[in-house]
Structure formats: structure tokens, C-alpha cells
Symmetry: C2
Subunit: 105 residues, 2 copies
DNA sequence: ATAATAGGTAACCTATTGGTTACATATGAA
DNA sequence: TTCATATGTAACCAATAGGTTACCTATTAT
């Protein structure tokens, strides 16, 4: 879970996810076209995403084809929507009011 | 958005959110009881969470009272469920199959 | 066989993170 | 007023992140 959030915490990496989601099977080179940094820097981002399970890659000849994997995001979504179910709905204000009586240490 | 994901990428910080959610109005000292690291380390986590908007703090006398704020998580949830709507539902396999014909560069 | 292409690895640098200790400040209690 | 409590700040340190250049490997095309 740490790795997923960590991976998602960078705008370039989220952009990579968009690129691959919009064009599954993208090569490393294709992804690089969208960025100004070196290919190596992009590859590091790709590895972070892959280690988080957000990208899957499959080597085809000399090119590495990339696929977006939504499973980790789904997992987090499910876990958090159940655990924080009341909160997703947006009841902070009420929540605070409830508490201002209790006043925990 | 970066800051929110960054803040959520650490298990201790997520634990802090749980603690404060379960006992809104918690003091810094109360949160510290749950961890083995120094108070300063905990305070740094609190500041990261606060800068991400996930915690709100209000000073009451000499104690700082902490409140969980679900707004950033809601924002992300809404944005991602719309943007990745097909994916939340878990259609990666189909997604991949669709694409294996196209085969983008 | 040779050259061009696509990708991977290694070594290095700087900035950020996450922890520490020591000290400072402000408020509540005796 | 004096002491204890609750929090905040500063300076430091090791590990990680994110970038670079230089070089290596494997596959495709001529």
C-alpha cells in the first residue's frame, strides 16, 4: 500500500499512468516522448510504478510493452471506502461537532 | 494532490489518521503514545498530514487539538472514479484483450 | 556482418525524508 | 511565583528519491 501511494505521489508518474491507460502496450520510448527528462529518469518512474503493481510490462522482441493495472487502486478504493465509509460522504463538520463535547485528551 | 498521496504513503501516518479519526480532538501527546519514535518525529508526521490537508489542528490553551479532514480524500476519490471509472470496476483483463489488436508503438 | 534501434545497468550528485538531541516557549497547577 | 506540562524550533545525520552521463546488451534492418 505504501508503494502504491508513493508511486501516485508524483505528477509525472500519474501522467505516465494516463498515457499507458490511453494507449496500452506503449513502449518505453513512446512514454519518453511526453517528457523532457532523460530516458533513464522515465525508466526509474516506470520501475516505481511497476513495483507498486500499477504497471505491468511484457517484453516483446527488443521492446517492453506497458499495461496499466488498476488492481492496486481498486484495492485501496475498496478498503478505504469501507473503513472510512462515513467520511467519504463528507460528514466532517458534523463529526467535529459531535466531538467537541467529548474532548479527548 | 502530490502532497496527499505523499502523506498517505507512510503506514505510521495512516495510523495517525486512524487514531485521530477514532478520537477527534486528540492532542499531540495522545498520538505519541501509540508510537515508539520521538515526539518530534511524530510532530513531523503531523505536519506532513496537516500540509496535505488531511489533518486540521486548533490550539486550545497549551494543547493542540487534531481533527481528521476527509475532504482531500473525497476529492481524489471523485476525480479518480470519474477519470478511471471503467477501471474501478475491474475490467483490466478485457481492457488488455481489446488492446492486443491495436498494439500502440 | 554491420549498423541502427530499444532498452538496461552503473556510478555519481543533489535535495528531501525521517529520524535524532538539545534548547525554547507558553500555559496550567501548587 | 515557581514548577511541571505540552508543544515548538534548530541543528544535525543517514537513507532514499530523482536526476544526470557513460557504457553495455539484445534485437531488428541493410
Amino acid at each position: 500500500m505504501d508503494k502504491v501511494f508513493q508511486a501516485l505521489s508524483s505528477a509525472p508518474r500519474r501522467a505516465i499512468l494516463d498515457i499507458v491507460r490511453d494507449r496500452p502496450g506503449s513502449s518505453v520510448g513512446h512514454v519518453c516522448k511526453f517528457f523532457d527528462v532523460s530516458r533513464i529518469a522515465v525508466m526509474k518512474h516506470l520501475n516505481v510504478l511497476e513495483e507498486a503493481g500499477l504497471l505491468i510490462s511484457e517484453k516483446q522482441g527488443r521492446t517492453r510493452r506497458l499495461y496499466f493495472n488498476s488492481a492496486p487502486i481498486q484495492m485501496i478504493h475498496e478498503r478505504w471506502t469501507s473503513e472510512y465509509s462515513a467520511l467519504w460522504a463528507g460528514h466532517l463538520t458534523e463529526f467535529k461537532r459531535q466531538v467537541e463535547a467529548k474532548q479527548g485528551t
